[in-house]
Symmetry: C2
Subunit: 327 residues, 2 copies
């Protein structure tokens, strides 16, 4: 049995999903759907590329559509709309808007009889699972999530919008001393500034006022003002040579107390070290798509998240194989 | 809604479950069942203690029975038998016998209309979940599990059976250099000896031949002969003072390759650092018991494992609360 997959949107994440599908023998890529001119887009694996507007013609040939549409601003509308014709999965990551997004996607998917999974990927996604397991296995404790070292696309874009900036790359870095305190089970109360710092590489226009650019970055509300931020000016060549990759990662910690006098400490730590953020995200989306397909086979419909998928559903192996091999 | 729980077996693990139940406000301890004389057993929290033989009288007052019965040799018979009267959960950990145990418990639970979850705890259990997530999120890769530093009860018992040994405590230790290689994404092929070493603290009878005891330990088939083992003779006082706790832990790693040329490396690492092995195991069993109860409410029956429980089922929070707080 092969799961027939479509990719909707073909940027870094779409290419990540395309590569990952080759590593999942029970999945098959039917086509890539793009809002650009399909003739101008060449897929990495030679998979056919179609116009996004033609997606509905493939309703009966695609078991699940993986949404890799660019920005978080697209997804609220896009996931709802595509859930009318397809089982879908997205990687919606605006944490504060998840309840609202869930409600509207759920209405759309229930009405059309499809299953939609929102907020797949590694955070939200894999890290969310780890936060949940941390809380349930150690109900009396403290959780901490650290991100990085890694490139934040949103922060890089914010710096690029400053006049005089030609290009920018922002790395989010966990504050090592704080990570070590949490790892040692000290359960410290940490401020925003104590958890992460920010490092910006900037290519400035010739003659630009670098000190003014630096000031505008470090004082930018929400993005930088609550963090210690270092700004480093580099050449366009150095940017291209040293900062064109998209590494990321981070840690989810849970420290809890147990026992008769709540005096014993237990620590759970989950870490990710990713050479490629979009490729790992794509790989996670493939496994979650398999899980969604299992729900479809069970006759379910509506919106789901990673919390709703039995782990076994993510694997191509049978229950007996999983128990013999991985339990 | 309160989940009514029974504890069957009252050793270290039973006490761990008893303590953990106080940290789960939606669960209530109905009673502890012991094969010893109940009048001789005093529970930590003052919960009533009953004779194991009277368990069936509590059929209608207990939603799930958590089996904390001693050795792995008890469970094959015990879980099957109790699944006739109760929804049950055990921590069966003889990896090679899991398929057989699953089959017999499944037959018993299906016949009686109960749900049974086997092999709960941290390994099998939490580590099994991490192995599964590792394989599905990075299908093209390599997995490694390291255990320790921690006390192995089975190995300690094996040393105690050697003539001339009064007491023994065996620590399993991960080989740090190997852990570092795996952590760095080098995907080394490691032998048994390269993954773990063993450290035994032994109290010998006065006048015993220590060199002979040491030889018998380090050459003991399966338990020690494939490992580098260090034997340290200590006094009974030192044993009591320094080695009466039951710490444990370990790591599950998954390193995989992604991308167009499978050239990018992604590493997932999960680590546990436990002051108390039985207390953490007990805490995990409580969360899993909640998951079993949810399956019961859905009208299911038969044998399950951690792989079958949607993560959300382990939490007392609603789906909406989980999405808002943890996703």
């Amino acid at each position: 049995m092969v799961i027939r997959v479509g990719i909707y949107g073909y940027g870094n994440l779409g290419r990540g999903v395309e590569s990952a599908l080759r590593q999942n023998a029970d999945m098959e890529l039917v086509g890539i759907f793009t809002r650009r001119d399909p003739d101008s887009v060449h897929s990495v694996t030679g998979a056919p590329v179609y116009a996004a507007s033609a997606a509905d013609d493939f309703k009966d040939q695609i078991d699940i559509m993986i949404l890799c549409g660019g920005s978080a601003t697209d997804l609220p509308e896009l996931t709802c709309r595509l859930a009318r014709s397809f089982n879908v999965i997205d990687s919606f990551d605006t944490h504060a808007s998840i309840p609202e997004h869930f409600a509207s996607v759920n209405a759309s998917a229930e009405a059309s009889g499809h299953v939609a999974l929102i907020s797949g990927g590694w955070d939200p996604g894999v890290f969310s699972l780890m936060r949940l397991y941390g809380e349930v296995f150690l109900p009396d404790g403290k959780s901490d999530t650290f991100w990085g070292p890694g490139v934040s696309q949103g922060h890089s874009d914010a710096v690029r919008r400053i006049p005089g900036v030609l290009d920018a790359r922002q790395y989010t870095l966990p504050v090592e001393e704080s990570v070590e305190q949490v790892r040692a089970g000290k359960m410290p109360e940490l401020t925003i500034r104590q958890k992460h710092r920010r490092l910006c590489y900037v290519v400035a226009e010739e003659g630009a006022d670098k000190e003014s650019i630096r000031q505008q970055i470090v004082t930018m509300p929400h993005y930088f003002d609550e963090y210690d931020t270092q700004v480093v000016f580099i050449s366009a060549e150095e940017m291209k040579e040293k900062h064109s990759r998209l590494p990321h990662g981070g840690f989810v910690f849970r420290t809890g107390v147990t026992g008769e006098r709540f005096s014993q400490k237990e620590t759970m730590e989950f870490g990710l070290h990713l050479d490629s953020n979009p490729e790992f995200t794509g790989s996670v989306l493939c496994a979650l798509a398999r899980g969604v397909y299992r729900l479809v086979q069970r006759g379910e419909s509506g919106c789901r998240t990673v919390f709703d998928l039995p782990p076994a559903y993510l694997s191509p192996l049978s229950g007996a194989e999983l128990r013999a091999k991985l339990l």
